[in-house]
Symmetry: none
DNA sequence: AATGAATGAGAGTTCATTCAT
DNA sequence: AATGAATGAACTCTCATTCAT
């Protein structure tokens, strides 16, 4: 259909920004077209449907992220460093494709119920495996606490990372690496001040 | 014979479940009516509009939560215990009104832009103050790390807590208190195993 | 159905006032009920339908008016005096049943198209005959100008009289008889000052 | 190839005819669309709402009429000739835009209560001034009877003129000028035959 | 590559009406 | 005599989509 892949990219970026700001269902095709400086009907020269637009946005984001995660895993770091790297790549992804991540975070649960978006569930499974394995290995290696509830921890980590897409601004004070560092400090070592053995509930012996 | 307020409550609960499952915009009034065993038009005997339904759901949740938070603050606990209590109340709220929380988490940003839902922004401000104060006090009291980025930490805490509403099932394995305990362990002390080489040279023998 | 004809009358008056103020189609049954201090459904104890309410209002008005006109005709006055009497009775009817007249004036054309309201067309025919005869007799008797277009004049007379229902207030400055007198002065003798033979278009010899 | 404004005009004319025939409230948007040979939804490509359609119809009519009246006033004729000209222009307007006038006559009172249609009240005031001034000047100049109730006369004149829109057919026997002449004969000189006994003892030989 | 006009399905909402109580 | 709750049809309006130009 479309001749220029660049135009396509522009349009996808425009659409992603609108979807992220208003929500997928609340976004009309006309609004995207407005933002792109054309009429609603004209979008159909470039894309088959509204669904196909989000699909392409989400696939692009997920493919890229999967690639980054694979690279991290291929490096064969220890669990703690792997986690550091995964988190950092995640915040970088938010930095690069914030709108796509925000859409993913907000809409994937609903979209995944539809056949067309089955790939969302598949991706999620893969990512889940990556994280569960890393956490489990970390516990086995004695790098993470032995009493962690792995699945619960996975959810906490996953959600806090992605939810950042809803407030992160690429031009804000914090670089993605800085946010990742802060985030990791919190998650790895906690926000409590270093232990002075006076916590209220006596530390279970 | 069911008095009006009870029927209203039933309908609100039904609606909340549907909104939470499908998203506000994607939910049709007909679908809510189906779930309630009536026709779409009949809903309008009880409510003015689709908007007024979510509004009532969200107001109910926010009012209740504000009350709980106030009780916590009025207890005058130290920052660490205050945080523990706030988190626990939050997970209990998810336990009681999961759908309402899920709607709040997913839709409030978009809804708050509309005049009718300005109260959402107001509530959020109040909650933000509660958390920021608690965190600041904790740092001042030496209970939380001195190097915390307060705002960033606030966001992490807020988001992880609320996002739990999207996967929490009241009949699941974990009670809200159990989840709160796990969560607090993570956030307060981190997921890293107590490290012998980095800082304190072996915590508590 | 209804026990008390008085209650019925009250309700009809209330309904007539609302219909006259808002128009038949724009008036909801609920609004009438509100004005009557009851719920919409309760009206159906007294009346079969919204249609039956207007029908009763209009029939009441038309029957009464037909009676008055008949009395006038039965008096056997000359055309000029007959006209005077018909006009006066018409304004009195507006005084007594302003809302009913206003509804008739505004809605009868549309309503008459429906089988149920065929009686409107019938009444109108009768009235038309009364007027046409009176005018024709007046011309024949030399009391009205010989060059009158009878049908046109009939319409002018009919419309100006009825349209008064839309602005007439029973408690206003003018009594119905006073308005009738003014009206007749205008229609019979014109608004021009008594002829001084200096009209612009030379009075055709 | 029909340029947008032409299509718009066509659709407005179609809508005006339907509104005039059935009444504004009783007219569904589907019926207008039917009459225009399209589906209901398609109308919304051209117009924002049903309200905006009547608004445009009424504004068009009122603007044009105001222009004609202004031209008449600018001519600086005497009161009697001014009146003649105003009446003639009014019937011509009915000839050109009968449906619009009929809608104005029937619906403006109800519509004017709504903010959007406040312009109706404004126009009416202007027209009222035009007529009151003309009548007053005529009385002062001795062209109209000294004992006229100006406001009452204004209402009679206004209503009879506009109400003609409800029965006037452009293809009927009478041209607008002819109707205006008949009408003026009635209003200016009355329908009574020149009377020999009452006042002037035989007008002009 | 884009426009202008239309489609058709379905959305939220209204409303006359019904009926058990 | 009236209420409270519901029905079901219809209404205005929106929107993704199509297609001739």
């Amino acid at each position: 259909m479309s001749a220029s892949p660049e135009r396509r990219r522009q349009l996808l970026d425009t659409a992603a920004a609108v979807f992220a700001a208003q929500g997928y269902d609340a976004t009309t095709v006309r609004r995207i077209a407005d933002a792109a400086g054309m009429l609603a009907g004209s979008l159909y020269y470039h894309f088959d449907s509204k669904d196909s637009i989000v699909e392409e946005i989400l696939r692009g984001f997920l493919d890229e992220l999967a690639g980054r995660y694979d690279t991290v895993l291929a490096a064969g770091l220890g669990p703690r460093e792997t986690m550091r790297a995964l988190v950092t790549e995640s915040f970088r992804e938010i930095d690069r494709h914030g709108p796509a991540v925000a859409i993913y975070q907000k809409e994937s649960k609903t979209l995944a119920a539809r056949e067309r978006f089955a790939f969302l569930a598949a991706s999620q499974s893969t990512f889940e495996q990556t994280w569960l394995t890393t956490l489990k290995d970390g516990v086995a290696a004695g790098e993470f606490r032995a009493d962690l509830d792995i699945r619960l921890t996975y959810r906490f980590v996953r959600d806090t990372v992605w939810v950042a897409a809803s407030w992160y601004r690429p031009d804000g004070r914090h670089s993605p690496e800085e946010i990742a560092r802060q985030y990791l400090a919190t998650v790895l070592d906690g926000i409590a001040a270093p232990d002075r053995s006076d916590h209220s509930p006596a530390p279970q012996g």
